[in-house]
């Protein structure tokens, strides 16, 4: 489990950008969406989500905006920025290359 968490920790920024690129989302929604799309694989301490979102915002990769709901409750929605789009495109390419290379090595060699 510890190794899995380390893997998630290293990829959290890319995961978050992948989720908010489809539509702006708020923190709790992002957690549910990650869990749903990974079929329960990506479950992490929820408290670590907000530092990561704020880091993305500071780096200019995402932008947080408050929205007031009809019931008066406020939610902070995260939008991906132009810079975030470019970063995601670059990271996607790196990931795909990495996965292809890993598959080539991990798969058992057929005699």
């Amino acid at each position: 489990m510890a190794k899995k968490n380390e893997l998630i920790k290293g990829s959290i920024d890319s995961l978050l950008l992948c989720v908010i690129v489809q539509q702006p989302m708020y923190g709790y929604q992002i957690i549910k969406e990650l869990e749903r799309r990974s079929q329960g694989y990506f479950k992490f301490k929820e408290g670590t989500l907000y530092p990561a979102l704020h880091r993305l915002e500071k780096a200019g990769l995402a932008r947080g905006e408050w929205q007031t709901l009809p019931n008066g409750r406020q939610r902070r929605y995260y939008h991906i920025t132009e810079k975030g789009m470019n970063s995601l495109a670059a990271k996607r390419g790196q990931w795909l290359d990495f996965i292809t290379a890993m598959n080539l090595i991990i798969q058992p060699v057929s005699e």
Partner: protein, 299 residues
């Protein structure tokens, strides 16, 4: 909201050490998250207490969350780093270029320092403010020291009237800064040990102003160099994210600048005075942490 949940948010607030507006936004965001999660857990059949406990377990330690959010916000830009280092660099240049004897330069610098300190104080106390704030308090301390050189009867007047007001002002600003973040108090007080070191090195034993001025003239390039070193320290501090690294940078800088003072003044500071200065430096830089703890416990 249950007490256990509001305690959790209070714990995060206590450890965030962000400016007021950022702190409010972070707490509001987490509060919304907690409310939504507890509501969903209750809908799944958990009791209110169990839902609250599960929610807090999923969020993780309040201290860790607060520390990570602090680290996400703490790093200042290069512009902020330069702005924070500027008063040290100006003070360094004042001596390195021998402008310290020009009244115009001194008054101009004092005016700039006061303007920046007031501007930063009313603009939400950003990190770059605190070095300016430290220098803006310097004339208060210098005036108190100079009053001690007045004739004896006048010294008593100074002690009775000026010192209480000066001490109250220093206390009020220091406490308000500690409430924001004790590390900013250390940042504000950073030049104090170096100034004390130079004061001891050039202090006139026989009270002759000419001796004092001559010594200042002799040491001016080295005084300038120590303040330039403080400027580099402050810029590094602003660019760092982790608190323990920030503390280390301040302490190491104190050690280096005091060693520079002792080295360049070639024996004018005794080993005992040097050791006392080191202890004073550690007290000045680290005691705000203890004061912060005391202030918190006293509510």
């Amino acid at each position: 909201m249950l007490t256990v949940l509001s305690d959790y948010l209070d714990n995060i607030r206590d450890n965030l050490r962000l400016d007021r507006s950022s702190e409010k936004e972070v707490i509001q965001e987490l509060e919304t998250h907690i409310e939504e999660e507890v509501k969903e857990l209750r809908e799944s059949g958990l009791s209110e207490e169990d839902a609250a406990d599960t929610c807090l377990t999923l969020l993780g330690s309040a201290k860790v969350v607060a520390r990570q959010i602090y680290e996400a916000h703490s790093q200042g830009s290069w512009t902020q780093a330069l702005l924070a280092a500027t008063p040290h660099l100006l003070f360094g240049l004042l001596f390195a270029l021998n402008w310290w004897r020009g009244v115009g330069w001194l008054l101009g610098m004092l005016a700039l320092i006061l303007i920046m300190a007031v501007y930063g104080w009313w603009r939400g106390k950003p990190a770059w403010l605190f070095p300016w704030l430290g220098y803006s308090l310097l004339p208060v301390v210098v005036a108190a020291l100079l009053l001690l050189y007045l004739p004896k009867s006048w010294s008593w007047v100074a002690i009775l009237f000026y010192l209480p007001i000066a001490l109250w002002l220093l206390y009020a600003i220091t406490v308000r800064t500690i409430k924001r973040d004790w590390l900013y108090t250390s940042l504000m007080l950073l030049p104090l040990p170096t100034i004390a070191g130079w004061f001891l090195a050039i202090e006139p034993v026989n009270q002759l102003p000419d001796d004092w001025l001559q010594r200042m003239q002799d040491f001016a390039p080295w005084i300038g160099l120590t303040f330039l070193a403080l400027g580099v320290t402050v810029a590094t501090f602003i660019r760092l994210r982790r608190r323990w690294l920030r503390v280390s940078v301040l302490v190491v800088s104190g050690l280096i600048t005091l060693t520079m003072v002792a080295y360049y003044t070639e024996g004018r500071i005794s080993i005992l005075a040097f050791l006392i200065l080191m202890v004073v430096m550690l007290l000045v830089l680290l005691s705000p942490a203890l004061v912060e703890r005391t202030l918190r416990h006293s509510g």
